[in-house]
């Protein structure tokens, strides 16, 4: 048997059922490893060790009593620090929320607890999920476990690094413009961004409400399906949550892609995409063909407008969402004030980091009088055209296949002083958020430096099943490259 910390969630769950492992031993094994390895990886902001061990003992007692257990009963999980956990600090990796202890659980957290999952701790991210490298955390930078000199990607960099570094079997991330998929690609794990509306956003600290979505980050596709089963579903606390019948996504884990039509959008292989990345992704395309999928080149002509439209929309929404941080009800308050105005201004100026301020400024600019039509309204029209592009290709294809990111993980500090260059890391992931469709990133080999390359599969709205089926088939059949 593999070392405990290398196991997937479904392997751990099976080992509990067969009595090969005890929940308490598994949870303790992860904390022991965290204490040693997280010194270098720096994934966790907060650990919940005491509660986790108490919960492990309670769950083990139920296993011992032969009770019927939930899908994730006793399985450890790490949570991105922008999802509210009752009684446990939720910082968004910001000074603004450094001491914020939510009085409620996000819906996804409630669902995880109901399924018996054990939260190991809260993990690092770019402040308020704004960034592509986790270097914009107000606390510390997270390192890529594959090579500690590289970034883990972002903004869910902590979620990706702890799974890749065997410091948690699974984690939750959130994805506004690629924040699940790009770090999954950089760290060599699986990351799934569900269709907008499939997973409740209640209790997720809002960045850009029309784009944000929570999803699984896992070692394999099976775990992604199991975790999606647990977190998906309608929630009356989120008015954008979709009313759909509950599905069992593990039923989609079928090793067969014969006859599935896959489009390869040529715009995703253009200039700005690293040649080694292209090579690995095209090798994966070949594997799909050999497995019986029908593969053809296709076009999403508005792709080049996605990234600018995304930054306009996301920052506009962020500038509005972050208006709530006023130093009054919760969060950081300046010590330096006499008037209300001082509280607002000084708390925000001292509490927000550089990138967050930059995005508030951009968002306020595109919404301000004189620029609203030229930028914000125009970007909303681009969104309509992008949606039409996707609708059109999905008339013909079941899936699209692209690289997840234009490069592999870059060196820490190499892009931190060039915001626009950092934004380019989202080039191939934002079209998915702009059109609301689901997508998965999974490893498809490594570059010459040994850094993982991610491929991205994209499906129609609410067709996570085809996505998972194709990803599972590739995972079962890929050769190590």
């Amino acid at each position: 048997m593999k070392n405990i910390c290398e196991l997937t969630a479904h392997e751990i769950r099976e080992a509990y059922e067969s009595k090969e492992l005890k929940v308490t031993d598994v949870v303790k094994a992860f904390y022991e490893k965290i204490k040693v390895d997280d010194e270098k990886i720096k994934g966790y902001i907060t650990l919940c060790e005491e509660e986790a061990i108490a919960q492990a003992e309670a769950i083990q007692a139920k296993y011992d009593a032969g009770e019927k257990m939930g899908a994730l009963a006793g399985v450890p999980i790490a949570i991105k620090d922008n999802m509210c956990t009752r009684g446990v600090k939720t910082t968004c990796a910001s000074r603004m929320l450094e001491n914020f202890i939510p009085p409620y659980d996000a819906t996804v957290i409630k669902k995880l607890k109901d399924a018996g999952a054990i939260i190991l701790g809260k993990v690092n991210m770019d402040e308020f999920a704004m960034g592509a490298s986790t270097e914009h955390s107000a606390f510390f930078k997270t390192h890529n476990p594959v090579n500690l000199n590289k970034v883990p990607g972002g903004s869910s960099g902590g979620s990706a690094a702890v799974v890749a570094g065997d410091l948690s079997p699974i984690s939750l991330g959130s994805d506004t413009g690629g924040s699940i998929r790009q770090p999954a690609a950089f760290c060599g794990i699986v990351g799934l961004k569900p269709t907008y509306g499939l997973v409740s956003r209640y209790g997720l600290v809002a960045f850009a409400s029309s784009l944000d979505q929570i999803g699984p980050m896992t070692k394999d596709v099976t775990d992604a399906a199991i975790l999606l089963n647990t977190i998906a579903g309608h929630d009356e606390m989120d008015s954008t949550s979709a009313k759909l019948d509950k599905k069992d996504y593990t039923k989609a884990l079928v090793n067969d892609v014969k006859g599935i039509k896959i489009g390869i959008p040529k715009e995703f292989f253009g200039e700005g995409v690293n040649s080694e990345v292209k090579e690995k992704v095209l090798a994966a395309v070949k594997t799909f063909e050999e497995l019986g999928a029908i593969v053809e080149e296709c076009s999403l002509p508005a792709t080049e407008y996605c990234l600018p439209a995304y930054y306009i929309i996301a920052c506009a929404e962020a500038s509005s969402n972050l208006g709530r941080f006023d130093g009054i009800r919760y969060g950081y308050r300046t010590k330096n004030y006499e008037t209300m105005q001082d509280i607002f201004r000084n708390s925000r100026s001292e509490g927000f980091g550089e990138e967050v301020k930059r995005r508030i400024i951009l968002g306020t600019y595109v919404l301000s009088s004189g620029y609203y039509d030229a930028y914000y309204k125009k970007a909303q029209k681009v969104r309509t055209i992008v949606k039409q592009n996707f609708d059109k290709v999905f008339e013909k294809y079941d899936l699209l296949l692209t690289p997840t990111a234009p490069s592999t993980a870059f060196d820490i500090d190499s892009k931190i002083n060039n915001p626009l260059e950092m934004y380019m890391a989202d080039l191939l992931t934002v079209p998915v958020n702009v059109s609301g469709v689901p997508a998965i990133s999974m490893p498809c080999g490594s570059d010459s430096e040994g850094m993982p390359v991610g491929l991205q599969l994209i499906a129609k709205h609410f067709d996570e099943e085809t996505l998972l089926r194709a990803a599972y088939t590739y995972e079962q059949n890929r050769e190590v490259q």
Binding site: Y196, F352, K357, I360, K381
Partner: protein, 94 residues
């Protein structure tokens, strides 16, 4: 081209104080970023309506009924300053 004056005005609207150094830095950043964002204006959107969301949205209603809410004491634990019953703030009017 965005000027330092414009950045100062936007910072004012955003309730942010910026140092002289920050104004300089954000002005340069924003010139690059806005030039990039301007790309959207080269796409023909004649006759296209805006989308606020990628999927169809609709109003969601529920019955107006009394439900359990948060405990006041628990909420006030996160307040930087309170008198035990309400948030405390400097007076608005003198």
């Amino acid at each position: 081209m965005i000027s330092k004056e414009e950045i100062k005005h936007i910072a004012e609207l955003s309730m942010l104080n910026l140092s002289e150094e920050e104004i300089q830095k954000y002005t340069v950043n924003m010139q690059d970023i806005v030039e990039f964002a301007n790309k959207v204006n080269s796409l023909d959107t004649e006759g296209i309506t805006e989308s606020a969301f990628a999927l169809d949205t609709f109003n969601v209603f529920r019955k107006d009924e009394v439900r359990e809410s948060f405990d006041r004491e628990e909420l006030l634990k996160n307040a930087p300053s309170s008198n035990g019953e309400a948030y405390s703030l400097p007076s608005m009017m003198n």
